[in-house]
């Protein structure tokens, strides 16, 4: 706490990448025995600051002081020897090795005959036990563990290194509520042992649950350092996005629902289904309407979207587009019918990391035209100019490799890619997952505009509130079947949908609790 000396002090840190100043005179102080949250939108410089602290990036200006001593860190190994360990969003362990090896890798106990595996596994077990993971067998393969436990194993590893500073970079993004609680118990335990913990997360609830103080960054600049209890959520968001909540609120308050005309549906499926993915359902999608798919993780949301797009071949059912019978069995056929699908898996099925923003934007248009007729540079530029501007992709540099963009901006590029095909029906699977509040609001706003312009939009999100806010009509899925279809309006809220889901399977006492948990994340 502030009366003691900070273990880490970063002063006036600046880092420039070609064309961008990623960090501009940013400061950060970490005290022993505190959980410190690092807050900011995507692209605000959180990752860059962490990488500066862990020695991955060289700092151009400024100073890092560890326990009062100025230090120049040359890399991960260097940072680790200075007592700084990092646990990343994606678990960075080796799945081909055992739990014990992962914990001890590089620090195995050695004897006269090389590594002493018995002692090494014992030391691993001891470390795991300290974090309440005593039930794990160090000789078991890491790959057999669920992701949450792997995350905790990664933290145990930093304990072996006697770390004084633990950086948790989005550690909870793939964990469920119970697993988050388990992680937090470990984090509190470490904090009480005097470790300084830097916590980065998009989940405000979690930040308020765990952190003592927080530092806010915006656009690569230091916005302020606060005690968590002295800053409420609205103030925090305002500091992060640099404008008040009016924009967000206006979207929330929007009551004027679009009125669906009586014309025939753009897309109508009767009894479309696929064994093991989703039971036969009827889906009707109209122009100028946002239809939401609500349901828990694994309820069949993505499966249904993939059937509509033809990414998976339906076993049953008939599909009509604009009243004409259509066979949509491959994505190419869907594109030909002006149906576009933006996958939930942004990294693997969405952006092509090493291509530029321009190349990513024109990809779908080019695919539809066929490779024999490449887009001219002028046509490309037209597409790029139109969508980069409309969606507000930042930085506005079309030649920048898309991997250098923040998650929210990558999502905008993806959205632009599909819009460039001028679809009549746009399927958005989790378009706002893992992106920050500001970008989220922009994307939500844009989706609403698209529907106003006459597009049919199928909107999928695991945040039920978001589905409710965005949709004119909501299809509720549960256990791979459709259980309800609700017209949007004042009567429909996240709670009412949760009730629908919960009441559908009465007799399963856990269902209700699980639903509520997910609804509130």
């Amino acid at each position: 706490m502030p009366e003691s000396l900070p273990i880490v002090e970063m002063v006036g840190i600046s880092i420039a990448f070609p064309g961008v100043k990623a960090l501009d005179e940013v400061g950060l102080r970490l005290y022993p025995g505190e959980v410190h949250a690092l807050m900011g939108e995507n692209g605000a410089g959180k990752s860059t600051l962490i990488k500066a602290l862990t020695g991955v990036y060289k700092i151009d200006e400024g100073e890092i002081r560890i326990a009062g001593e100025p230090r120049r860190l040359g890399g991960t190994a260097d940072a680790q020897s200075a007592g700084i360990s990092t646990v990343y969003q994606e678990v960075n362990l080796c799945a081909n090795l055992t739990i014990g090896e992962n914990v001890m890798l590089g620090h195995e106990v050695r004897g006269p005959a090389g590594i002493n595996w018995r002692a090494t596994n014992k030391a691993a077990a001891k470390t795991l036990a300290k974090l309440g993971l005593g039930h794990l067998n160090p000789k078991q393969s890491l790959a057999a563990l669920p992701l949450a436990l792997q995350q905790l194993v990664a933290i145990s590893r930093s304990m072996v290194l006697q770390c004084k500073v633990l950086i948790l970079d989005e550690p909870t993004s793939s964990l469920d509520a119970n697993e988050v609680e388990q992680l937090f118990a470990v984090v509190r335990n470490l904090r009480d042992q005097g470790v300084a913990i830097l916590f980065v997360s998009h989940f405000l609830d979690q930040v308020y649950a765990i952190s003592d103080r927080l530092t806010v960054l915006r656009n690569g600049r230091f916005e302020g350092e606060y005690r968590t209890e002295e800053l409420d959520r609205a103030q925090l968001i305002a500091k992060m996005i640099g404008r008040d909540l009016a924009t967000l609120k206006s979207l929330d308050a929007k009551e004027s629902r679009r009125v669906r005309g009586d014309e025939a549906p753009l897309y109508a499926a009767k009894g479309i289904g696929r064994k093991g993915a989703i039971d036969p359902v009827d889906v009707e999608l109209h122009r100028g309407e946002v239809v939401g798919l609500a349901g828990l993780l694994g309820s069949g949301r993505t499966e249904l979207a993939r059937l509509i797009y033809g990414a998976d071949r339906p076993d049953t059912g008939d599909v009509a587009v604009d009243g004409e019978k259509a066979e949509i069995t491959t994505p190419a056929k869907a594109l030909a019918k002006h149906i576009a699908f933006s996958s939930e898996n942004r990294r693997d099925e969405g952006i092509v990391r090493d291509l530029s923003v321009r190349e990513n934007l024109v990809l779908a248009v080019q695919a539809r035209r066929g490779w024999a007729r490449p887009l001219t540079r002028r046509e490309q530029d037209a597409v790029v100019a139109k969508y980069m501007d409309a969606l507000g992709v930042r930085p506005a540099d079309p030649e920048r490799p898309v991997r250098l963009l923040s998650g929210g901006n990558q999502q905008k590029v993806l959205l632009g890619r599909w819009l460039a095909t001028e679809p009549d029906l746009l399927i958005l699977d989790e378009p706002t997952r893992g992106i920050d509040v500001g970008a989220k609001a922009e994307i939500q706003e844009y989706v609403a505009d698209l529907a106003d312009e006459g597009l049919a939009v199928l909107f999928i999100s695991s945040e039920i509130e978001e589905v409710v806010r965005q949709s004119d009509r909501i299809i509720v899925l549960k256990d791979h079947r459709k259980i309800a279809e609700l017209e949007g309006g004042p009567g429909v809220s996240a709670d009412s949908i949760v009730t629908v889901i919960a009441e559908d399977g009465l007799g399963d006492p856990n269902a209700d609790a699980a639903v509520r948990e997910e609804a509130t994340t």
């Binding site: 991960t76 190994a77 680790q80 080796c94 195995e108 590893r157």
Partner: protein
């Protein structure tokens, strides 16, 4: 992994064995290689006779000592997820250069040291290209392969014979360990001893040193290994240096046995060594495999040649087809194992 040193099954029945096996799926391809090797011996003994006897098995080791050494080197590289295509050409250059140096009057022992160091130099060059110039291992070692083959051809295009009294030939001389009836002796050569030492040393390095564990970690995920603070760059350099050095050593062992060297020696041996490693259970994507498995893989290939010779009715041309078939079976087996592991 310590699994190899543990007894594979407690006497609690088939189910316990199956459970153990599923816990250690990594060892399954290697276990399969052992089973196939034993199966080949049993089949050979039943069909042709005179397989399970001292001299046949001794010769199997003597004739394949160089391949075992090569395969051990390749195992290091493949465990990191890399590949080394240069080893066959390194053998050609190293052996031609070595024999010419000895014939030119160099001290044979110094010449042998030079042969090994030629391999080290090639390995270091590949390692530098891969680690510091970010060349794909396939391309970097392919370039080294062409370089080695070309240098060997520049030196000589005819077989260079070693003097019969050269001390190098002693490395290839058979030593009778046990004098059996007629020619049925247990015999080894210093070359076999060298191969055995190499295998044991490799086993120690891979399973009992931090460098060895880093090799496995890199194969599992290079990025993770980096973020864990392991010395990834140095270790990757080391595996190519080890592979090159062992290729130089294999050149010494092979030249000692044959007594001559030629620029076309070792064509395709890199692929034999890769095949042996894969048959022995090493995953080409890295991170899984055992050096002892690679030895079994090399012996499977060697034994196959013996069986084909004994059979007589199989044309030697078919050898490569059979090698390919075995390889395919093993790769399919590995894919099945990987699919199980992902579940």
């Amino acid at each position: 992994m310590s699994t190899l040193t543990q007894a594979p099954a407690e006497p609690t029945g088939v189910r316990a064995l199956a459970k153990r096996l599923s816990l250690h799926l990594d060892t399954l391809p290697t276990a399969a290689a052992v089973v196939i090797f034993i199966g080949m011996i049993v089949y050979g003994e039943a069909a042709y006779g005179r397989i399970v006897q001292f001299n046949t098995l001794s010769n199997l080791l003597i004739n394949n000592a160089h391949l075992i050494i090569l395969t051990v080197g390749l195992t290091f590289v493949i465990l990191t997820g890399g590949i080394d295509l240069s080893v066959g050409a390194v053998i050609a250059f190293s052996s031609v250069a070595g024999v010419m140096l000895m014939n030119a009057g160099w001290n044979p022992w110094i010449a042998m040291l030079v042969m090994v160091l030629i391999g080290t130099a090639f390995g270091a060059a590949s390692g530098i290209l891969i680690q510091y110039f970010h060349v794909q291992p396939f391309i970097a070692t392919l370039a080294m392969m062409f370089l080695g083959r070309g240098l060997a051809s520049i030196l000589s295009t005819v077989p260079e014979r070693l003097a019969d009294d050269s001390p190098v030939r002693e490395l290839g001389t058979q030593i009778k360990v046990y004098d059996g009836p007629k020619v049925n002796d247990i015999a080894i050569t210093p070359g076999v001893i060298i191969a055995a030492v190499v295998v044991l040393a490799a086993f120690f390095v891979l399973h009992r040193t931090r460098t060895g564990r880093t090799v496995y970690a890199i194969g599992g995920s290079e990025q993770s290994a980096q973020l864990m603070g392991l010395p990834v760059a140095a270790t990757k350099m080391w595996v190519y240096i080890i592979s090159g050095t062992l290729a130089g050593l294999a050149a010494v062992v092979y030249t000692a046995r044959l007594g001559s060297a030629q620029n076309i020696t070792g064509i395709g041996w890199e692929l034999d060594a890769i095949a042996a490693a894969v048959i022995g259970g090493t995953l080409l994507t890295g991170g899984a495999g055992f050096v002892l498995g690679s030895v079994v893989g090399a012996l499977v290939l060697g034994l196959m040649n013996v069986l084909i010779t004994r059979d007589g009715s199989i044309p030697p041309e078919a050898t490569t087809i059979i090698t390919g078939g075995i390889l395919l079976v093993f790769v399919l087996l590995q894919r099945a194992v990987l699919a199980r592991r992902r579940e």
